[in-house]
């Protein structure tokens, strides 16, 4: 069991780091998805461990949510991309302190 949890943790961390370091909005976004899937893995692993289905069901819903997020996210990113022909997070800098 623990291996899966550890793997999940590692994936999550990778995703996390990716979000923080990458610049391309789409890549950042993919990293977020990676995080979600890491969570899925962890959930399922724990479900197996506890011997109940909650975790797996949760994984289901997470998938759904992730899908929804993809739809919304890509839509937003694309609009920005269309307007300024760049998906770089750095270019989004009109709003400053």
């Amino acid at each position: 069991m623990t291996q899966y949890v550890v793997l999940g943790a590692i994936l999550f961390t990778i995703g996390c780091v990716g979000v923080l370091t990458r610049r391309n909005a789409i890549v950042v976004f993919m990293c977020v998805e990676l995080m979600l899937n890491a969570c899925n893995l962890t959930l399922v692993a724990f479900a197996k461990q506890h011997g109940n289905l909650d975790g797996q069901i949760a994984a289901f819903f997470v998938m759904v949510v992730a899908a929804a997020e993809v739809v919304v996210g890509l839509a937003i990113i694309m609009t920005i991309f269309r307007t300024r022909r760049s998906a770089s997070v750095d270019d989004a800098s009109l709003l400053k302190y």
Binding site: A25, M35, C39, I80
Partner: protein, 529 residues
């Protein structure tokens, strides 16, 4: 695998379903109505739906069964995934009221000269022929109403959620539409889209943390239900590290949603970039929902582990208040300033949250932290909504004028608007005879009676700092001379006027006779387990 048929308490949950149904219906209208008739239909539909839901909420709240000890009332619904108790119903009511206000602001068409404040066509690139066409032919996105209704649905589900999964789903349901709404401004599209992007990326990021927290807590407790988690903590089964880390991650997710430091970075950008109507709705609604959820999560699920999370809350609360207040001073844009002030308010609310005490520790008739926070949410919501609504009025040819220097001399230009805005600011600063003061009093009391006097001290000092920048704006409006031709105030249609009026009225009323609402929040009682 034997299968138990789940049961659904339609009779109690129908307000929820009404909102959702209206949202779906809105989409259908969007699909099948000719463009010309959509605006009216959508507005009416949304309002009708919300009002119905509000009435329903009242009815449902009226016949909540009071539980054994009398401090809590209500019952679990949907196989224990939703908790229908006093606070839930109360928050439903509040959210719905703010939603109504939001619809009114969304529907405002007079300020922009016959079109709403939303993009004629989000897909058309700014400055292209398509967009010009869209704006000239008076298109506008009536999709915002269904979107908003979905968000409201999420906001109602969020504080009611009684298990982690529902909590997560609700979180997303309320967030996703908001992400989109942020990007739909008619003016300053790039800013607005950028706000949407930032909000979305950070939001998704934080929800990732949130989810991982859920996973860990589930790993710890072996169940997603708050009650079960609480049990697990009390009997201390499972791996405690999982619990701690999980708790932390959940907290991160929630802190992000309420815009608490150090996760407040998105707040100013989004508040500034989003269409002001959306900002108003978002600022009020999201806070209410998120704090409702936070209260339930920490009181019910982690209630028996209070001593673990309260210190964390202390730190975050202090940090939030300081950051919010200090950064707000540096702002030159009204919306940003309000955004930072909302961060500071988050801090105050947290001060109330960390005042959690078990009923036995309180004198009878003493204010509970739940009561305090609920009340504060109401006061804050009305003030904020009103304030942002006022912001929509101050404009020039280029749309809204949110730079402070352009607000100079507003007091001479339009004493009424300036007065109302000043009033809202004073309320936020917590001057007596405004609702803000009572709210502050309540949360501070909660914290103090829980022995968190250092936090209260910081809170007091930060409110002084906060007072400074509020007062500065007032001074700007009244005592300094307008630059150039000065600000001009557009005449709103009745919609915005009503919103502002109600906001001001409530803010005053709650400042002078807070009794009823306080009692209502008191009657709502504690969360059920």
């Amino acid at each position: 695998m034997e299968f138990v048929k789940p049961t659904i308490e339609y009779s109690q949950l129908w307000p929820l379903f009404v909102v959702f149904g209206v949202a779906c219906l809105g989409v259908v209208l969007e699909a099948f109505l000719p463009r010309g008739r959509r605006y009216l239909a959508q507005t009416v539909l949304a309002l009708a739906g919300l009002v119905t839901a509000l009435v329903g909420t009242a009815l449902v709240g009226a016949d909540l069964v009071s539980l054994g000890d009398g401090v809590a009332r209500g019952n679990l619904a949907m196989e224990g995934t939703l908790a229908l108790d006093g606070p839930t119903v109360f928050l439903w009511g509040v959210v719905l009221v703010f939603a109504i206000g939001g619809v009114l602001l969304f529907a405002e068409r007079r300020l922009e000269g016959g079109v709403s404040a939303f993009a004629g066509q989000a897909a058309a690139l700014p400055g292209t022929e398509a967009e010009r066409q869209a704006s000239t032919s008076g298109l506008d996105h009536t999709e915002v109403y269904p979107l908003m209704m979905f968000a409201v649905f999420g906001m109602m589900m969020f504080p009611a959620a009684n298990d982690l999964l529902t909590l997560f789903v609700a979180l997303e349901v309320l967030s996703l539409p908001l992400y989109l709404l942020c990007g739909l401004a008619r003016r300053r599209r790039l800013l607005s889209q950028e706000a949407a992007l930032k909000y979305f990326l950070l939001g998704a990021f934080s929800s990732g943390f949130f989810l991982y927290g859920i996973a860990l807590i589930y790993g710890f407790a072996g169940s997603m239900e708050f009650g079960a988690i609480n049990e697990a903590i009390r009997n201390d089964l499972g791996n405690r590290n999982l619990l701690l880390v999980g708790m932390g991650m959940l907290a991160v997710g929630l802190f992000f949603k309420v815009g608490a430091a150090p996760f407040q970075a998105w707040t100013p950008d989004v508040y500034q970039g989003a269409p002001t109507a959306v900002t108003a709705f978002m600022a009020a609604g999201t806070k209410v929902a998120a704090f409702g959820a936070m209260l339930r999560l920490f009181y019910v699920a982690f209630g028996s582990d209070r001593w673990t999370w309260q210190p964390m809350m202390w730190v975050v609360a202090i940090l939030t208040m300081v950051v919010g207040a200090v950064l707000a001073i540096a702002q030159t844009d009204v919306k940003r300033m309000l955004a930072y002030s909302s961060v500071a308010h988050t801090g105050f609310l947290l001060t109330g949250v960390l005042g959690a005490q078990s009923v036995t520790e309180l004198a009878d008739g003493q204010l509970t932290s739940t009561q305090a926070v609920l009340f504060y949410l109401v006061t804050y919501g009305f003030a904020t909504m009103g304030a942002f609504a006022v912001v929509t009025l101050v404009r020039d040819s280029g749309g809204e004028q949110t730079h402070m220097s352009r607000w100079a001399g507003l007091g001479k230009e339009s004493p009424l608007v300036a007065g109302v805005f000043a009033f809202f600011l004073l309320a936020m600063a917590g001057i007596p005879l405004t609702s803000g003061f009572i709210g502050k009093w309540a949360v501070f009391e909660a914290a103090l009676s829980a022995g968190a006097w250092p936090v209260v001290l910081v809170a007091v000092l930060t409110s002084v700092v906060a007072a400074f920048f509020y007062v500065r704006v007032i001074r700007m409006m009244y005592f300094s001379d307008p630059v150039g031709d000065g600000p001009n105030v557009a005449h709103p249609s009745v919609l915005t006027a009503v919103t502002i009026g109600v906001g001001a009225a409530v803010t005053l009323a709650l400042g002078v006779v807070p009794g009823p609402v306080l009692d209502l929040a008191g009657v709502a009682g504690e969360f059920i387990r």
